[in-house]
């Protein structure tokens, strides 16, 4: 009650997860907790036990993380899913380890952004569990809830116990600790949960947190990077040659798209670049060849009110592609280390940790089969001026030119420095950048379509091998 109001005033997002054995009365324990909260400030999320979905498994949970000042209470979720995959679908131990690594990264990101993450594991022993399942089966109203999986859990209690212990030890971190709740006695368990929430929140709100500044700044290159000046030589392209290559590539892309759809491969294309470098035109050459039900273009501008109250990556978490969909980002999460850095919209600590956070996120996407293709579109300063002036003079296109564009141009060097550092720090084996010189629009479009088709073809090839 009172703590909830203080959390709201301080703008602290609070995430509470209730996990535990079948029969541990998790549902009733959650309700005890919810009844102490003001409904205006919490959302409750119950996740059915799953384990068969294919998309990056954290996405559904990322989407419902709490905004600043609110509570999100989860029953079941990311941990249950990992355990289920391991125990019921026989996934490898190493898959589990990778999943726990991604979970820790995710929870750390929430905590670093000022959030509180609280995890409870409700424990009962094998005998108690058996007795409770039996008792429920005897009750006409409740028998329905006793699933075969619950009995499976009881039969293989020791296997589950081993996995649960491994989970607790490898994901119990300083920023997101587990609390073990003995749940044989309901009253005690409820008290344990409520008092822990109260104590941790009280601590958190009392403490003004000053994160130690770490030395991320080391090794940052200064001034314009070699990456941007060492681009391949420019050239023109004849009408006929361009038209032929373009329609050939578009035909190929359309055919690949159908395979992407059948194989349920998620594809994310990221377009970043200098203003007026031709992002819009390049995106159109891609979407022209796609079926509208299979792609979505996400133009990224300043975050709106709702987005501002969430983690800065939340608005992308929501929109990552699933199951054979192509998501095209016109500007992206890299805004954090470009415009937000240059315009001072976030602190240096914030954009410096963004490199790691973005890499973690992209690795998670890539581990779960997402094809990530990132383009940086570059023109030189003279060409930009020429394009601005041509836009300004054309009444049909003058709306494309805003005062912001001129302001950004004044900060050309700052933006180039930010871009160079971004390219250095976020070019990874699983999500490399493709830098494209777009002084010649035609060459650039051909280059982009080629990179897209090649990346998809390669991913489909790996897919084929994976299945054999």
């Amino acid at each position: 009650g009172a703590l909830q109001r203080r959390a709201r005033e301080e703008g602290v997002p609070v995430l509470i997860l209730i996990e535990g054995w079948e029969g541990a009365n998790k549902g009733r324990l959650v309700n005890e907790l919810l009844l102490t909260l003001d409904p205006r400030g919490y959302r409750f999320h119950a996740f059915e036990r799953r384990g068969d979905e294919e998309y990056p498994f954290l996405l559904p949970y990322l989407e419902v993380t709490p905004p600043r000042g609110e509570f999100a209470v989860f029953s079941g979720g990311w941990y249950a899913e990992v355990l289920l995959r391991r125990l019921l679908r026989g996934e490898e131990r190493s898959d589990c380890t990778a999943a726990f690594r991604d979970i820790c990264a995710f929870e750390r990101q929430l905590a670093d952004a000022g959030g509180v993450v609280l995890k409870f594991f409700c424990h009962i022993d094998r005998k108690e569990q058996k007795a409770r399942l039996k008792e429920r089966e005897g009750d006409l109203d409740l028998a329905w809830f006793v699933t075969p999986e619950a009995w499976e859990e009881n039969k293989r209690y020791d296997d589950f116990l081993l996995c649960a212990e491994e989970m607790l030890s490898s994901t119990g971190t300083e920023y997101a600790p587990w609390t073990l709740v003995p749940a044989t006695d309901f009253q005690y368990a409820a008290w344990k949960i409520l008092s822990t929430v109260e104590r941790v929140l009280d601590d958190c709100l009392a403490r003004k947190r000053h994160p130690a500044q770490d030395s991320l700044l080391e090794g940052v290159s200064d001034g314009e990077s070699a990456l941007l000046s060492s681009m391949e030589p420019e050239g023109a392209m004849e009408d006929q040659e361009y038209d032929d290559r373009l329609s050939e590539l578009q035909r190929e892309l359309r055919s690949l798209e159908l395979r992407v759809f059948r194989e349920k491969l998620p594809v994310a294309l990221v377009f970043e670049g200098v203003d007026a470098a031709g992002k819009g035109g390049a995106i159109r050459r891609v979407t022209e060849s796609l079926y509208p039900m299979n792609y979505t273009v996400y133009p990224v501008g300043a975050p709106d009110d709702q987005e501002r109250r969430h983690h800065y990556l939340w608005r992308f978490w929501k929109n990552f592609p699933r199951d054979g969909h192509v998501a095209i980002f016109d500007r992206s999460w890299y805004g954090r280390v470009l415009v937000e850095r240059v315009e001072g919209l976030c602190t240096p600590e914030e954009w410096q940790s963004a490199y790691r956070e973005i890499n973690e996120m992209e690795r998670h996407l890539s581990d779960y089969r997402t094809v990530l293709v990132k383009f940086w579109l570059q023109i030189d300063k003279d060409e930009q001026l020429a394009r601005f002036e041509s836009r300004g003079g054309d009444p049909e296109r003058s709306w494309k030119l805003t005062p912001d564009d001129w302001r950004n141009r004044d900060k050309w060097d700052l933006y180039q420095t930010a871009a160079a550092e971004m390219l250095l720090r976020t070019s990874t084996s699983y999500a490399p950048w493709t830098v494209v010189a777009t002084n010649s629009k035609r060459l650039a479009r051909i280059r982009i379509l080629t990179a897209v088709t090649e990346s998809i073809r390669r991913a489909l090839g790996q897919e084929g091998r994976r299945k054999r």
Copy 2:
């Protein structure tokens, strides 16, 4: 392009639906349309052909209606669903008629709120359809898309044609007309769609619309209504009796909840009332007995930025219960005819048409099995003063009392008039109001729990009969 920018400036939401035969190239036609639009201002929604979902069938579409100034383009959707139910699941013609009635009401509401609704039906004849399906089957990449349903449509072309004609004639309205698109020639069809969108939008934006004032004001009762003063006599309740009745009702509610869940019956409880009438306490007595995964409490305050850009009912459309879920609204869509009316937050025309619009919406919910229970909680003016003063004097509860509460109290008579008219105009057979005097909190809570359990029991009984 240019029209889209004008629509944005004028804040006009635009809804475009592309319907038609299998094989009419709807997908490619949609893409032609999308390519002319700026991705910042549209969302595209492709709906798979369904026909087996049980919840009020319009909800998924209502949820994605466009906000002011944006386009929403649909391929498939509400019409396809109705036709499919009729033709493939053998629903009655009368169900179809009811569905068309609800669709017309929905489209009219969008148009009345200043929106533009454009519907296209892409037509090819039976021979052409057969040829196209055959051709696709011959193409390795495309064969996958030719479903058994598509062939079924070709085989029973005449049945489908009859139904489609009925649909076009019964839902082609002044505010949401159909445009028939001959789709044998792709270029012509694309031109037809684009030019129609352009013409209609241009007309709409040019015309400043002055809806004729209709005489809804007739027959409005004035001053405090008999409904509010003729409530059943107050009384006290002994501790023991209250505790016994309360736990008995809560036990019953919990048992009913499990049946609601099994039968996948949606339940919506609405709590409106005078400030300090005890809505919060009454809601807690209901939620105490429920499983947290089966209920959600929606506290309703002033709409946020995003909500303001949508139809005023949109934020409720999103949250209506589905499949065995209990949604509890702490204040509700009736704010339109209460606070928004009294405080002048909408025009008289707007709150006057809200009675009809709300009744239409509730009928749709009720037709699709939603159990709707609406409570008006009433205390007298002296009791309110006493409660305000007791809240103000208690530091633990003083946050519950805001300056707004005192301001609303000054307008007591205006609010009572609005409430009386609301109760008169929106008490329907499918969604009646229950007026509860809450000077005695205990009696009131028992009364509310009784009404909730009775309504659910009755609905479950009908459900049982429906199935036999």
